[in-house]
Amino acid sequence: MKKLIIYTACLFGLLSCQTQPSNLTVDLMVENASKIITTVSPTDLMKIMESEEIFNVIDVRQNTEHYYGFIPGAVNIPRGSIEFNIATENFWETEGLYMPTKEETLILYCKKGKRSALAAQTLMQMGFKKVLVLDGGWKNWELSFPDFCDKNLEMLAGGPAKHDDGGGC
């Protein structure tokens, strides 16, 4: 009987010590993330944007992708820095926005929806309660609302003009 209890305890111990799988492919990672995230269609996102709801649309692509076309009003936080910037006051101040609380709606998008699924999973792990992912990403938005897209022409032209305000000679 004693042995049985020890064996059972060992079995439970082994099961509870199981670590996260370590050889996932990116497709599997996205698939796993997709199971827990909530997606939103471009039409539904437009409804949110037209509503009174407090929300932030976050473009998780690289800024070199963002400048070429983005959803008007979207904040660009590349996926690589989202954990650091999402709850950093300075970042949001620079964007001229209030830092979102964990109860506010965050809508994430990337080019097609894979990077944003992974980023959404991360934000959910960080405690953000209402994270949505734009189904099909920027490409789906561009095709659904081609007349409601923006570009950062200033940055595409090399950024703001550099002024030498040093004075003197």
């Binding site: 992708e65 490409k139 561009e142």
Partner: protein
């Protein structure tokens, strides 16, 4: 007592093992996959000519004009001119019966589209893809067999090109420039053979003004691609040429373009090589009745380079501070604004849309009026109840194009001219003039009032077949929000459901489980009671 106990144990084992055995057998049967048939065909592209054209005296002359080359070709290949001149490649139109319209003549010559709107009137640019020599205007003689350009399809040297802006003529000493030199006709004519991929691709890859703009599944990557892009044309696979599927008889090439063809004949099908039961698996083979092979085997298109999915002409014509046109790119380096053409949306690795299609199509004809928005440039016929229709993967190109608000007709634009001041939109950015001249050239009435209207054109997908490992899995379609969510005129297992039936089913399962548990408990109680 002991005997009764062993009987009970046996009964318990049987009651456990039997369902388990049934379950395992069911899973085994469900997991069965047949071994697909192996295709063994002799490829036409492997054909080696038995003739050395360089030995022919007539091809050793110094040709001055491509028409002279044609004359030399026809001096041996007698009668071939009549074959060529009977084809759609020459006529750019064919008579076909469209349900509800009767027999009409349709083709690139007279159809409108929502890319560059139409070829007729923009001959200098568009007719570069005609197999004739110099269809620059209405004076082109379709009865003159020396206007046939044999070399554009049969050149094996990759040095023969029609010059841009010359209506299908190669460069001449007067027009030659850094990009286009006068071809070495003697060299090219001595090196001719069956068309290679790039003979076809020089036009079919670049339709709409650039690589992969129109088709989405036909582009220059197919010249040397991996199996992931196309199993048939893969350089590391069978490396098939276009003519291996698009077989040809008397210069009539099989396999018409669905977006400009109406009747269901002269098509090519996968089952020409693969048979109608290629999977060796009854369930998969049964899909052949209602699902085109392409639907499962081309899960996405534009696998190498992006294709245009949206084209908004209404924003065209903006110029910079100096009055010149300009361009902007998207994040992938594709133009998404051109002053001469407007805004675009490109995408790669695109999931097709799915429609019923029985092989016949209707088209917006020049005399048609705009009655519905978006305007359907072509309409694919078919529905579930149509026994000849199958579910097809389709590229849908949407956009906004110019139309006559008075006559409610789509406008044929004059886009191209060699220089400014001739009223071509691409040079002068003047909508009024481009519309007036385009309609005038096409002998169509125009009220002078225009606006832009949404339109869409449907391109069934046929190329970029994936390796079998990448074909669609069952659940891609057999689920509630799967790929076929838009096709609602039939019952699809796994997708469609009825709440009452579902509740009834679950209720029966629940009652069965209660019965099993009650029976089990009854047995236990009976066992101990009898003990």
């Amino acid at each position: 007592m002991k005997n009764q106990f062993s009987k009970s144990v046996m009964a318990l084992l049987v009651s456990l093992l039997l369902p388990l055995a049934v379950l395992l057998i069911t899973l085994k049967v469900a997991a069965y996959k047949g071994t697909p048939e192996v295709v063994n065909v002799k490829l036409k592209s492997e054909y080696i000519s038995s003739v050395d054209h360089s030995q022919f005296e007539i091809l050793q002359q110094e040709f001055e004009h491509p028409r002279d080359v044609t004359a030399a070709c026809l001096s041996c290949h007698t009668g071939r001119d009549e074959e060529v001149m009977a084809t759609a490649h020459w006529k750019w139109e064919r008579e076909e019966e469209i349900p509800g319209r009767g027999v009409v003549s349709v083709g690139k010559k007279n159809l409108l589209n929502n890319f560059c709107t139409g070829a007729n009137g923009n001959n200098g640019s568009c007719m570069r893809c005609h197999i004739g020599l110099g269809w620059k205007d209405k004076s082109f003689d379709f009865a003159d067999n020396l206007n046939i350009d044999c070399l554009v399809c049969h050149d094996q040297t990759d040095t023969y090109f029609k010059q841009k802006g010359q209506g299908g003529m190669p460069a001449t000493p007067e027009t030659a420039n850094a990009a286009y030199q006068v071809p070495d006709y003697q060299y090219v004519s001595q090196n001719v053979g069956l068309p290679k991929k790039n003979n076809c691709g020089i036009c079919h890859f670049y339709g709409g003004g650039g690589n992969n703009v129109k088709h989405g599944d036909l582009e220059e990557a197919l010249l040397s691609c991996s199996k992931d892009v196309d199993v048939h044309m893969a350089a590391d696979g069978p490396d098939m040429a276009c003519i291996d599927c698009h077989t040809t008889e008397r210069h009539n090439i099989q396999g018409k373009l669905y977006s400009v063809s109406s009747a269901n004949h002269n098509r090519i099908d996968c089952d020409q090589c693969h048979t109608t039961t290629p999977h060796n698996d009854a369930i998969l083979d049964n899909h052949f009745e209602k699902v085109a092979c392409q639907t499962c085997h081309i899960p996405e298109y534009a696998k190498a380079n992006a294709t245009k999915l949206y084209w908004d002409w209404s924003s065209a014509g903006l110029t910079d501070d100096h009055g010149n046109g300009y361009s902007e790119d998207d994040a992938d380096g594709n133009h998404n604004y051109l002053s001469i053409k407007g805004n675009f949306v490109w995408d790669d690795h695109v999931k097709p849309e799915y429609y019923w299609f029985n092989g016949t199509a209707d088209h917006y004809l020049a005399e048609d009026t705009v009655t519905t928005i978006p305007v359907k440039i072509n309409t694919l016929f078919g529905e579930y109840r149509d026994s000849t229709a199958k579910i097809w993967p389709v590229k849908v190109h949407r956009g906004k194009q110019i139309y006559d608000t008075g006559n409610k007709t789509l406008i044929s634009l004059k886009l191209w001219a060699a220089q400014k001041g001739e009223g071509a939109f691409w040079k002068d950015f003047d909508w009024e003039e481009a519309a007036r001249l385009g309609m005038e050239y096409n002998d169509r009435p125009y009220t002078g009032n225009y606006d832009f209207v949404e339109s869409e054109v449907y391109w069934p997908i046929n190329h970029m077949v994936s390796p079998k490992e990448q074909t669609l899995t069952c659940v891609e379609c057999h689920q509630r929000d799967g790929r076929l969510a838009g096709l609602n005129d039939f019952y699809l297992p796994g997708r469609d459901y009825n709440k009452s039936v579902d509740y009834a089913g679950f209720g029966l399962i629940f009652l069965t489980l209660i019965g099993i548990v009650a029976h089990f408990l009854g047995r236990i109680v009976a066992f101990f009671k009898n003990r």
